[in-house]
Every structure is written in C-alpha cells, then in structure tokens.
Amino acid sequence: MRINFFLNDKEVQVETDPLRRLLDVLREDFELTGVKEGCGEGECGACTVVLDGKIVNSCLIPVGTVEGSQVTTIEGYRTTERYRVLQDAFAEAGAVQCGFCTPGFVMAADAMLRKTPMPNEDEIKEAISGNLCRCTGYNAIVEGIKIASRKGRGLW
C-alpha cells in the first residue's frame, strides 16, 4: 500500500505492507533509531512517538493507519527550543542513566507540557505512567520535567 504522511514536518511516502509496525518503518526505512523497541507490546513506552498531537506506542501502530497524519519522533523534536529546555532539565535533575528510555520520556513530557504547562507532581506522574524506567526510580525524571516547566515558561 502507498501511504503518505508527515514525518517530522516533512511530507513522506512509503510503499510497503500497511500492517508493518510504524516502529519498524521509522527505524528501518527512515533510520530513525531514536525510537526504541523495549518490549513490542505497548508496555514500556520506549517507542513513544507523537501521532497527530498525541503520544502513542509506535510498536502498536500499523503504518497503514498513519495516512495523512503527522508523526513526530525524537529526531524531529530535538531541533526545537522546547527540547533544549527538557534536555538541560533532565541533565540537571539526573534523569538520564542508561538512556534507553529517555527519548520516550521526552516525547511524553512534551505532550503533557503542551496540555498542562505548569503541572503538579501527580499530573506529571500520570503523564509518564506509560513509560518504564529501570534505572532512575522516576523521581529524577519527575524533577526534570518540573524544572523544564519552570525554566521553559512561555514555551509551552
């Protein structure tokens, strides 16, 4: 099937099996390896991308359904000012250890901040409840998002 969609703000087209996972199309066809596979069953959030403004697990999206949609991965997001604020905040808070889960958390954090620019701790925890981290115990990530929301006032 031919599928046209917007990937990181660029119009793209793939001719492929529409049931291939978006995760595989992104990693293999577009070499966007910032999107990770941690479990393949929608539990860990390492494959999180933004689809039409909302975070989803790309391991559960058949590429045929993204026809006409906007897909944003970490590679598209990391050129923005909002990303820079999050990156600095994460480093300041100690939110990055092995780093495998981090791009997924960044995408989830941005999605939440776009909706709730000044979140409280419960709102943050809820927003990242679909992202697993085995290294940090989450507190540093929550702290990082708090810092980003403070320092990035006006950006979200």
């Binding site: 099937m1 099996d17 529409p18 049931l19 291939r20 996972r21 595989d24 293999e28 596979e37 393949g40 069953e41 929608g42 539990e43 959030g45 999180t48 689809l51 909302k54 975070i55 989803v56 697990n57 391991c59 559960l60 999206i61 058949p62 045929g64 359904t65 026809e67 006409g68 989830a108 999605a111 939440m112 809820e126 927003a127 409840s129 679909g130 992202n131």
Partner: protein
Amino acid sequence: MVRAFRPESVNHALEIMSENQVIPLAGGTDLMVQRRAWSGLPPRFELPVLFIDHLEELQLLRKEEEQLRICAGCTFTSLLEHEAVPWEFKIVIAQIACPQIRNRGTIGGNICNASPAGDTLPLLYAFDAELALVRKNDSRKLPIEEFLTGPGQTVLEKDEILKEIVIPVYSFNTFFYRKVGARRANSCSKLSFTGCARVDGNKITDIRMSFGAVAPTIVRSREIEARLRGKTGKELNKLIPEIIDLYAELIKPIEDQRCTIRYRKTISLKLLHHFLGDVIMAKMT
C-alpha cells in the same frame, strides 16, 4: 494478497465486509499485541485488516434526552475529554492502561475484544448499555450481556461491526468503582467491582452491581438487585450476608499468572460488602 483495506466511510467499510472476510482494526492496542511477531516482522493477520480508526462517523458522541450515544471508535482519551461523558465513566476510563494506550484504544475495541477483564465492561453492564451493530443494509441492537458470550467471544457476525454504544438515561447518586491491578498504573485488572445506586432518603430506589475478571463474562444479576430494591437501611443490613452468599455462587474466577482464585473471590465479596455495608449505608438518612 490484499493486506489491508482503508474504507472512506462506514458504508464503504460494510460494503467491503459484505464481500471479504476481514479483521476490523481500530486502535490496535489489543490486536497488535495479540498478533505480534518477531521484531521487524509485521504482526500475524491471516485475513486482510480493515482499518476503521480514521472513520469520523465512528467517533461521534451524542447526548439525547433519553440516552447517550457513544460511537464505538471513540478513543479512551476522547471520552475523558468529552463533556457529555458521565463522570462515572471517566473514573473507570482514567484507570485504563496509560496515556499512550488511551490515545489509541477505543471503547468499541474494548467491548469486541471481550476479555473477562475488559475495563469498560462491568460499567457498561451496570449502566444497561445496548450495542448497535451494523452490516450492509441491516442493523440490530442488543443488550451488552447478550453480545458477550465468553472469554474473547461475541455474537458479532463476520460482516458486522459494532457502531454505537447506547446508554439509557439513569439517575444514580451513589457510585463506587474499584479495580485491583498488580500495580498503580498500566495494569490488567485482577478483579473489579462496580456499584451504582440511587438512594432516596432511607430507601434503595435503584441498585446495580457488576464484577469484572472473576468469571468468563461480567457478573451481574438483576434478580439479586431486585431483592435489594426498595429496602431500607435496616433491611439492607439484615440482607447483606445472604446477598454475599448469592454472589459467591456466581463468582467463578480462574487462577492464572496474575492472581489466585481465592484472592479474586474473597476480595470481590469484600468489595461488595463494603459497597452495601459502608457506601450505601452512608448514603441512607
């Protein structure tokens, strides 16, 4: 072989279904997991897939005088964000999975997946939900308890899709929902209890109770509920042990990698006791 169809409308979808055997796919949060293959390979679908997640006709929500009509393709997130969705529904939906799943998973998918642990099912049973099914040139409507026949089993025909969930008007002033999972987020239900009631003064005007994940399908008994209707606080108190025993007969959980039979059954009945003995009693004047 055609791998997937992307219909332009519901009618187009039904047309395709009348001529082809397909697997309808909405959010995919159940099907893409169930059929997952080795990383890099597409999931295993033995029939062509019919994408329906993009059909706006399936994402409508209409509040009418006597009923609320929720189209099957509404995602959990859209239901959480819609003002016409009852707050009781939002409490239940907010506890489903996590944001990424809620952004894709649909109420229709949750129903048609027919898992004994389906999160929306006990609520829909308690609210007397009716399901509108459509096929080319035909439609039918039936109560949800007639739609679900066993674990993973529904009466949906091969050329039918679930179009709408119709919730008749209700007036509860008491609501208690408790899902017990393995952890605080993103967890399958080990068991759940849903209790809705209308208590007027010292009497139970209406009461509905349903149990999830403790039997092949959702446990709800109109007969037992009828015994409680019209009862006063004092009468309720006397009846509680008998009511618990009656439900104990209906609750037939399995033991699996998530939970034990004894836990599922015991806690279900404890929640029932809490609902009747604490929540309802507290509402009585």
